[in-house]
Amino acid sequence: MTEAAAAANGAILKVDGLVKSFGGIQAVDGATLDVKRGSITALIGPNGAGKTTLFNVVTGFYRPERGSVVLEGSEVAGAPPQALARRGMVRTFQITKALAAMPVIDNVMLAAPNQPGERLLGVILRPRASHRREREVREEAVELLDLFGLARLADAYAGTLSGGQRKLLELARALMTQPRVLLLDEPMAGINRTLGATLLEHIERLREERGMTFLYIEHDMEVVMGHSDRVIVMAQGRVIADGLPDKVRRDQRVIDAYLGSESAG
């Protein structure tokens, strides 16, 4: 796939033949998929389908054994997570990673890009640039916290937040990096319906306003139906279906995969 071809079909992220195994178990076994720019794409599948492992490989937390990951036309398989985050692909975690012993506002401010004060030399040689950027960053962070209803908790330790609040904090933090592609690992798990609906509204608005691309993992098929342009289904490490939500729901392979996993589990 050339850069021109990738741009032509509008894929911001392309995964091809990805393989990752753990001690003989093929967690991801030749997965191939692409995510269109500006789309909200759901990645679903039964337990153990390899969704989270795929996320970990795509975002650089695991090294793939084979296959390629192309982000905006460049091969990035094997690149470390921090490099990918700086290129605009950022993720959240299934089990939230709130920086517990840091205030909520610091959790969000940490994520800001282009802060010269994050380097020792920058602190020493460019203290004013650092201060100036810090003021901008604080404003942005407060706005984001406001958006997610966390503003009054800005100075609380992140470790005191509830599970749902942590999910929102993680999303706010990821947005602070100004990503172009956001990968969310079960953003709705463990939060109540109202909060989940708010979260989805935010995602849709960000797609409209900033043209951001979302790929999110969800375990429950029904949840994704009203809230995605496309659904990709994984089972046993492979992509078994890919298309519009309604079409995917009626796909016999998908039904078998879900029923099979339930009868087995």
């Binding site: 921090q82 950022v90 975690f93 709130a98 517990a100 012993a101 380097r119 602190v123 990096t177």
Partner: protein, 324 residues
């Protein structure tokens, strides 16, 4: 029978300026030493068990460059920092990728390598015979300061007082600099690394670079503490750099409290006051046993502190409880 229960504490020592100057020099030296542990353990989540190795490198590099290589004292000081920092990078590059507990073992081993090398490289370090004669320049400076003190009206000042002054000026400057650094965006990334490295990486931070910087700063502080230890002893032997020294530093750290730079100075003063004051407890036992009793008293104090104030005197309880 009464002889067996003889127990006496002489309080005279506490009004003696010489006692307090000696305690002050030790407390200042260990403040610098433990600031290094604070940035590693308290702010970066790096379990550094080899701080004494950096101290040994700073002291020996300074001593060897002056005595064996004939360098100027003033050049030997920064050079010795460089030696310690380079050693920190050599240890840190492979070891900082390890899990925290393995890193602890690796740093402990690295410090032992330094000590055992110092013991066996006799041509360079004098081995167990010791290394002498590096403090000529310091003796001149010390005399000059004594001269100032005399002209300020203090007849016959304590001979250790100039060292006391200099070590505390350096220790307080270092504390202020680190506390300021911690409030910058750089310090925020460091804390994020302590809290959750994967989260920091997911947000685009090169966590290994920050851990290497943290270890380098600890190494530099260890080396500076090494100068003052060397000038205080005026000779160097490998016995001064047993692994125990690192854990005395941890005692100071626990007492002062995690994640608070200013607490270290207070913790160090209290730790060394207790440690030195217990010398004046007279028990009807051998000197060897008495030395052990002193450590038991310090240990008991630390246990009591853990029971009633686990975050140390100035640490934040929330940060400890929420840490994991």
């Amino acid at each position: 029978m009464t002889e067996l229960f003889r127990f006496a504490v002489t309080l005279e020592a506490f009004t003696d300026l010489g006692f307090w100057t000696g305690v002050g020099v030790l407390a200042g030296t260990y403040t610098l030493f433990t600031l290094g542990l604070q940035i590693n353990v308290g702010y970066s989540g790096i379990l550094n068990f080899g701080q004494v190795g950096f101290m040994a490198l700073g002291a020996y590099a300074m001593g060897i460059l002056v005595v064996e290589a004939g360098w100027s004292f003033w050049l030997a000081l920064p050079a010795s920092i460089l030696v310690a920092v380079l050693f920190g990078l050599v240890v840190g590059l492979p070891a900082l990728r390890l899990r925290a507990d393995y890193l602890a073992i690796a740093t402990l081993a690295a410090a032992e390598i330094v000590r055992l090398t110092a013991r066996n490289a006799r041509d360079l370090t004098g081995g167990n015979q010791g290394l002498f004669g590096f403090d000529g320049t310091w003796a001149d400076i010390s005399e000059t300061i004594e001269g100032w003190l005399e002209s300020a009206g203090w007849d016959n000042p304590e001979s250790l007082f100039p060292l006391f002054l200099v070590v505390w000026i350096v220790a307080l400057l270092a504390t202020a600099a680190l506390a300021a650094l911690q409030r910058t965006p750089w310090g925020r990334v460091l804390r994020a690394v302590r809290e959750d490295e994967d989260a920091a990486r997911a947000l685009g931070k090169s966590t290994l670079a920050y851990k290497l910087q943290s270890l380098s700063i600890a190494a530099a502080l260890g080396a500076i503490a090494g100068w003052f230890l060397a000038l205080n002893l005026s000779f160097l032997t490998p016995q001064a750099f047993e692994p125990l020294i690192t854990f005395l530093g941890y005692g100071v750290l626990v007492l002062g409290g995690l994640a608070n730079y200013w607490g270290i100075a207070i913790g160090s003063i209290i730790f060394w006051t207790v440690q030195e004051a217990t010398r004046f407890i007279e028990l009807p036992i051998s000197a060897e046993k008495e030395a052990a009793v002193r450590f038991m008293i310090v240990g008991l104090l630390l246990i009591l502190l853990m029971a009633f104030r686990p975050q140390g005197m100035f640490g934040k309880r929330e940060e400890m409880a929420l840490g994991d």
